[in-house]
């Protein structure tokens, strides 16, 4: 993020304020909280997508498949830990969540590593082929999850101690959403810290600006990219796992549906920008919840309108990268 570039950050509070007159305070509070929580989860999923594009110009339409796999893996783990899920204590519930999220992140990170080697590596620098092959892989992944997990939706029970809500000024805020929001926020803080303070983060930021020059300085950007790809897909898997518990149900179509939202998020944020996609994710999460409440049929359209509006205001997204 560059100094002086604060206007985009105000978009989130402005949207919060703008929604208030359109509904009662209690509804507003509930919807805002779940919108922000949803946004944090979208950020978890989208952060990898934006870095993968930023660093190697790779448009990965299979990214949503990792979210979908993460959700299914979480559902499988969930089904095997009914004791922990139903236990009344917070610690047991968090343990179940950690097991589900950890398994999803590990498996998806590993799958991402393999996917980068087998598929992505062959289509560097060729956007049309990237789109064709990753859209194709998305379809294959969806079919694979039908084969593995069956055609029917899986359901997940809310962890016992997190299923209830805090009631604040008449508005209900589900406790699990706070956990999801905290996790997303922690991931954002950790990513920012790594990008801002570590050598590897510095090289990633430089590589996003000018990959060739980073290589001419002696850094192996491709090797770094494989690492970023694996971390990105692991975060997608983790996001999918949290989403599964958040939504309470997982279907084979989940990854495909979320792909649209995830690309909206990274385009709004500015392709390649982690902070930008964080803002984009919050905006999309809020809009989805507000419009879903006020005019449910328009929810998807509202996100497209949001994207169009942002791009009219800032053609390269909220926090565009400097490209040299």
């Amino acid at each position: 993020m560059r100094a002086g570039d604060t206007a985009p950050i105000l978009a989130v509070p402005l949207l919060l304020l703008a929604a208030l007159p359109a509904m009662g305070f209690a509804d507003w509070l509930t919807l805002s909280a779940s919108g922000l929580a949803m946004g944090m989860l979208l950020f978890l999923m989208a952060s990898g997508l934006t870095l993968i594009f930023g660093l190697m110009d790779v448009l990965n339409f299979t990214h949503g498949a990792f979210v979908g796999f993460g959700a299914f893996i979480a559902a499988s783990v969930w089904a095997r830990l009914p004791g922990l899920v139903a236990a009344p204590g917070l610690a047991a519930n968090l343990l179940a969540l950690a097991a589900a999220g950890g398994a999803a992140a590990l498996v998806c990170g590993g799958l991402g590593l393999a996917f980068e080697r087998v598929v992505i590596r062959r289509v560097y620098g060729a956007h049309l082929r990237q789109i064709l092959i990753t859209v194709g892989a998305m379809i294959v992944a969806e079919q694979m999850s039908v084969v593995i997990w069956g055609p029917d939706a899986l359901t997940l029970a809310k962890p016992a101690s997190l299923a209830s809500s805090f009631i604040v000024a008449g508005g209900a805020v589900e406790k699990f959403r706070l956990v999801a929001a905290a996790l997303g926020l922690a991931a954002f803080a950790a990513l920012r810290l790594v990008l801002a303070r570590t050598r590897i983060g510095l090289v990633v930021r430089a590589g996003v600006e000018d990959r060739e020059m980073v290589e001419a300085l002696g850094y192996r950007v491709r090797r770094l990219f494989v690492f970023v790809f694996a971390v990105g897909t692991a975060l997608a898997g983790l996001g999918g796992a949290m989403w599964a518990v958040y939504a309470g149900t997982v279907t084979a179509g989940l990854g495909g549906e979320l792909t649209v939202l995830l690309f909206t998020v990274v385009v709004i944020g500015g392709l390649g920008s982690v902070s930008g996609s964080f803002l984009g994710a919050l905006l999309v999460g809020l809009i989805t919840n507000y419009v879903g409440f006020l005019a449910p049929k328009l929810a998807l359209l509202a996100n497209v309108a949001l994207m169009a509006g942002v791009l009219l205001w800032r053609p390269r997204g909220l926090l565009p990268l400097v490209r040299t």
Partner: protein, 242 residues
């Protein structure tokens, strides 16, 4: 027998897409020497440097640096042999601070205080801009930063593409001082330059390119003394560019 040249190009051809740009470049640069690569616009100077760095692949010929065949290596491997490259566009990261840009020029040890001092002594203005993004610097300051980044770690060879382009004489003098200091420290330098004054102030050796080939090799002193040769090779003479 060991090659007396640190860098040697033999019969190097480079294609960019369908275009055949370098038509057999032969060049030898002795260790510790500073060679000026001159030539009119479009002669192939930048292409030669990019081919050395592996940013374009040579389609034929050989490039050897300190015993390694560069044609078999990718840019990071070439850089790790101890070659710093300052491209015509300077290659700075506009969104990163001056400090971060310098840091990227260092090895795993990070920025050594003594090296920072050296760079800041040569280019004091960078001290005030330390935490500003490189994109906020003036053209001259950017070039100082680009050269500074090539200095923060000991390199065997420095490859610089037209550092004086568009800069004021005072800034050019600072760049000359920096390159002279590097040379005094034993760094071998390959410098593309159109500014003949700068070339004359620094060069040991001269190579002149035209149309993708080396058309003249000699010492700077000989070229500086021979106005007729300057006019024939470069269409200018030493006095006209000062």
């Amino acid at each position: 027998m060991a090659d007396p040249a640190l860098l040697r190009l033999a019969g190097v051809h480079t294609h960019i897409g369908r275009y055949h740009i370098l038509h057999g470049v032969d060049l030898a640069l002795g260790e510790g020497r500073l060679m000026m690569l001159l030539g009119r616009n479009g002669a192939g100077k930048t292409t030669t440097l990019r081919t050395v760095m592996g940013l374009w692949r040579a389609s034929a010929g050989e490039i050897r640096f300190a015993g390694s065949a560069l044609t078999a290596l990718d840019p990071p491997a070439i850089a790790r042999l101890g070659i710093a490259y300052v491209p015509e566009t300077m290659g700075l990261f506009a969104g990163l601070s001056v400090r971060e840009n310098l840091l990227l020029g260092t090895g795993p040890g990070g920025l050594a205080a003594s090296r920072i001092e050296e760079v800041l002594t040569l280019f004091p203005v960078l001290r005030e801009k330390w935490d500003l993004p490189a994109g906020a610097l003036s053209g001259g300051q950017k070039q100082m930063l680009a050269i500074g980044r090539a200095m923060v770690e000991t390199r065997r060879m420095l490859v610089v593409d037209e550092p004086s382009k568009g800069l004021a004489p005072g800034v050019i003098d600072q760049l000359i001082a920096a390159l002279a200091a590097l040379k005094a420290a034993g760094t071998t330098i390959l410098l593309v330059e159109q500014n003949f004054a700068m070339a004359a102030a620094l060069g040991d050796d001269v190579a002149v390119m035209d149309d993708g080939r080396i058309v003249h090799v000699g010492t700077m002193a000989a070229l500086a003394a021979d106005t007729a040769l300057q006019v024939r090779l470069l269409g200018l003479h030493l006095g006209s560019h000062q």
